[in-house]
């Protein structure tokens, strides 16, 4: 860690028993920049957030910032990308691991999504709320995040005798509804109350595919699972 030896530089590495390797030091810097960006954007919006604020909050120098990102937008896009990949891995993983019928798999995926958002409210807010209006690339990433939910929902069409009549945009529209509900809760500072919304949101997702009775049954089971947990 040559940085420490430079005169006049503060020690910006967290103290630890093991010296941090260069790769993990770089990863740690990126993580801190993402965290700072997400927090600042959640507090005051994307436009109001400046690189100066990010650098100060992340406790990195400008040189370090520029080593990773060209500007604020690049850092924000990097944050979105990292958040979407992490969430998608959790959600898709939960969907694949669940071996029950499709409705149960959607329930598992939705549970993973809610958990992920509750555990990482600031980056989730960046993806779900701020990205829509933070420039065309960020908006495209928001769109991409929504679209990743579609393949998990689409198999539900096979359970619907009227599948040919379902609108093409159904999956993305449903995902949009979930994103809105999550975003509103995050803005209200109620990330910790998301679990209570899970059964109803699951019912909302299942209803167009399996009809309301089956959807209500799936939601009831989800509610039981939550109160048992």
């Amino acid at each position: 860690m040559a940085v420490r030896a430079l005169p006049g530089k503060q020690n910006r590495q967290p103290p630890g028993p093991e010296p941090v390797g260069r790769d993990s030091a770089a990863a740690d810097q990126r993580r801190r920049i993402f965290e700072a960006t997400a927090e600042l954007v959640a507090e005051q919006g994307y436009q109001e957030t400046t690189m100066e604020q990010i650098v100060r909050r992340a406790k990195v120098g400008y040189a370090t910032f520029y080593k990773h990102f060209a500007d604020k937008e690049a850092a924000f896009l990097g944050l979105l990308d990292a958040a979407i990949e992490r969430t998608a891995a959790n959600v898709e993983g939960a969907y694949k691991r669940e071996e029950g019928p499709w409705a149960d798999r959607v329930g598992a995926a939705l549970g993973a999504l809610f958990e992920d958002v509750a555990a990482h409210p600031a980056p989730a807010r960046a993806v779900l709320v701020e990205a829509v209006a933070a420039g065309s690339e960020a908006a495209a990433m928001h769109e991409l995040a929504l679209k990743r939910l579609a393949p998990l929902l689409r198999p539900g069409r096979e359970l619907n005798p009227r599948q040919a009549q379902l609108p093409d945009s159904l999956e993305e529209t449903l995902a949009g509804g979930v994103v809105w509900v999550l975003g509103q809760r995050l803005m209200a500072g109620e990330a910790d109350k998301l679990r209570a919304l899970l059964p109803e949101t699951l019912e909302f997702l299942l209803r167009p595919y399996v009809g309301e009775d089956e959807a209500a049954r799936g939601a009831g089971e989800a509610a039981d699972a939550i109160s048992a947990a």
Binding site: Q47, E130, G176, G177, V179, V181, E200, R207, E212
Partner: protein, 218 residues
């Protein structure tokens, strides 16, 4: 408000009272802000842009608004008020909740398609204009909930629907519209009417009837 605070009046005999002029200047400022936002986005808009578009002085701006954010909020509220009136008018002579819901959706989509700049201001720029505006968009969209909830009377077991049904539906609608506007396709919003109708009607009328009615508007 002293007369000199109102800035230069249009030359000649205009016949307006001082109150009318003040009101007119406020409206011009709001319209000026909307134009400036359409041109370069809320974040990049300066006070100079607003007063240039509005053709009034800075002093007039400060007589009406504290800052850019307050002027934006006023613009947002005017659009929301107008949409509220459009929705009320659209359902006036329409019989039956499903047709009223469709008429309201049609009115909103036609207005936003005809005014893509205002659609952008309301649905996207409001999310850039700080956390207060973002919350305001949520509240404004939430006003649709009672209109949707009347669909519960359409079915015997309507009260059994989850209490968040209206929220989820509104979320889907807003998200659908936002993404269309973000894609630069605000002028094609009316094409979303069948999808919007189906989305609104589905929880209350069931899938078969929702699809049937949505196909009729296509």
């Amino acid at each position: 408000m002293p007369a000199e605070e109102l800035g230069p009046l249009p030359a000649g005999r205009h016949g307006y009272s001082r109150e009318q002029v003040a009101h007119h200047q406020r409206e011009r400022l709001i319209a000026g802000l909307a134009e400036a936002v359409a041109e370069k986005g809320y974040a990049a808009v300066t006070l100079s842009d607003v007063v240039r578009h509005a053709k009034v002085s800075r002093r007039v701006f400060y007589a009406n608004f504290e800052d850019k954010g307050e002027c934006f909020l006023a613009a947002f509220e005017i659009v929301v008020d107008h949409l509220r009136e459009l929705i009320a008018e659209s359902v006036e002579n329409v019989v039956g909740w499903p047709q009223q819901a469709i008429a309201a959706a049609r009115a909103v989509l036609s207005f936003l398609a005809a005014e893509p700049d205002l659609a952008r201001l309301c649905l996207l720029e409001s999310r850039v204009a700080g956390p207060a505006l973002t919350e305001r968009l949520g509240e404004a969209a939430g006003e649709l909930a009672p209109l949707l909830a009347r669909g519960r009377d359409e079915r015997p077991e309507g009260e059994r629907l989850p209490s968040s049904t209206e929220d989820s539906t509104i979320g889907s609608l807003v998200s659908l519209l936002q993404r269309k506007v973000a894609a630069g396709e605000a002028s094609q919003l009316e094409g979303l009417l069948p999808d919007c109708a189906e989305l609104i009607l589905l929880p209350y009328l069931g899938p078969a009837e929702a699809t049937r009615l949505a196909r009729q508007v296509a």
